[in-house]
């Protein structure tokens, strides 16, 4: 029963959710539903007002040993503009104590098809390319839990395909992934489970394979309309 309030407003209101290893949860919801707050709680960037959370057997929020197992893609890129793409990823790799951090950083950039621009300062990259670097930064340490807030923002088809492939390969290797997105088609195609959040609560939760996409889309539309 995870909760978080800001003053009197309950951003996350008693959520109970189980996501197992090797599962991808796509989290949908209208603006202000509490999706980002939930992700920030799981990432340890916010402290819950009440309750605790576990993902893939990992207790959250936790100390350094727990944070080492998590990778976050925020809708901010978490990058430093004065650094090159490579320097940003290597900086993260060093913080996460990645062995052979130079090679692993190059590999992470390669996975997102951005290695050819690795020595370009981030300030000179487009929003989409920055997002690719941001994903490389978040996954350089091969996290067991990935929390991604709108990770497809700004990505072109090459970047989006690379990201989908990366998430799928991490899932297959046992990672637990939560993806917040507004894009139903994208979210449903990559996830194993899908949930709709509304007013800080989980309004709908299903296994993606059991979902009738039309009914789910109608339900989502209804929640967004009534919430607005």
């Amino acid at each position: 029963m995870l909760s978080r309030s800001f003053g009197r407003r309950k951003a996350v209101d008693g959520i109970t959710l189980t996501i197992n290893s090797g599962e991808i949860l796509a989290l949908f919801g209208p603006n202000g539903a509490g999706k980002t707050t939930l992700l920030r709680l799981l990432a340890g960037l916010l402290k819950p007002t009440a309750g605790t959370a576990q993902i893939g057997g990992v207790s959250l929020p936790g100390g350094p040993s727990v944070r080492r197992r998590i990778g976050i893609v925020s809708h901010h890129t978490l990058l430093y503009e004065a650094f090159t793409a490579r320097e940003n990823v290597e900086f993260a790799a060093r913080l996460y104590r990645v062995k052979n951090f130079r090679q692993e950083s190059a590999r992470a950039l390669e996975r997102m098809h951005i290695l050819d621009r690795a020595d370009t300062p981030v300030r000179a990259l487009s929003r989409g390319l920055r997002q690719r670097v941001s994903v490389a930064r978040a996954t350089v340490h091969q996290p067991e839990v990935i929390l991604a807030d709108e990770p497809f923002t700004g990505l072109d088809i090459l970047g989006a395909t690379a990201l989908s492939g990366l998430l799928e390969s991490l899932r297959v290797s046992g990672a637990t992934i939560v993806v917040v997105t507004h894009n139903l088609e994208e979210g449903l195609s990559l996830s194993t489970h899908a949930a709709i959040m509304d007013k800080g609560r989980i309004a709908e939760l299903s296994q993606t394979s059991m979902i009738d996409r039309q009914i789910f889309a109608d339900r989502y539309r209804q929640i967004v309309t009534t919430s607005g």
Partner: protein
Amino acid sequence: MVEVFRDAWIIARKDLTIEFRTRSAFLSAVVFALLGIVIFYFAWDSSAVSAVDLAPGVLWVIFTFSALLGMHRSFGVEQPDRGIDGLLASPVARESIFLGKAIANLIFVLAVQAIAIPAVGLFYGLPLGDVALPLAGIATMAAIGLVAVGTLFSAMAVNTRLAELLLPMLSLPFFVPVVIPAAQATAKLMSGRPVGEAGPWLKLLLAFDIVFVVACTLAYPFTLEE
């Protein structure tokens, strides 16, 4: 403990590299320091106050305010793309983040001092050659205390709308216990008194350094709670 300092150094190096590439805060601080020295020089009535009496005050006024410029930038560089979230979500201890920022700020302040001290000597005609080493020691000791307090308040002020105003308002009262012994010890040295006479002030400075560094490092994690 080794890991705390290792991570702190990674963060400090990152901040220094960014500052070296942009040079925004360092140039502002150096120009501010030199302009301050020039303004004090033109406002100085040498028949009323001797250079030896005035120079320590000028130095510490300049150090205090130019240090604030650097410290304001300290957490400001994390803001544009929320780099701070990347640090906080990483396995790095909160204390390492604080110490990394403080180490970068200390190097920043020492670099400004390395330019401002000879400039004061030049403008006020003070032969600082004989006291250069102990003066550098006092400047370093005082910089440690200033940086510890300034870095903590920079972390607290950065998310507020009035960060530029809030940082000096919060920091300056806590700078006083550092600036007073530093200015007194500097005055003793500049007036040609033996270093030993500055001893009690230096002990006081050391005590405040230890208290501020320990207290601010321990307090920093509490500034992060939203």
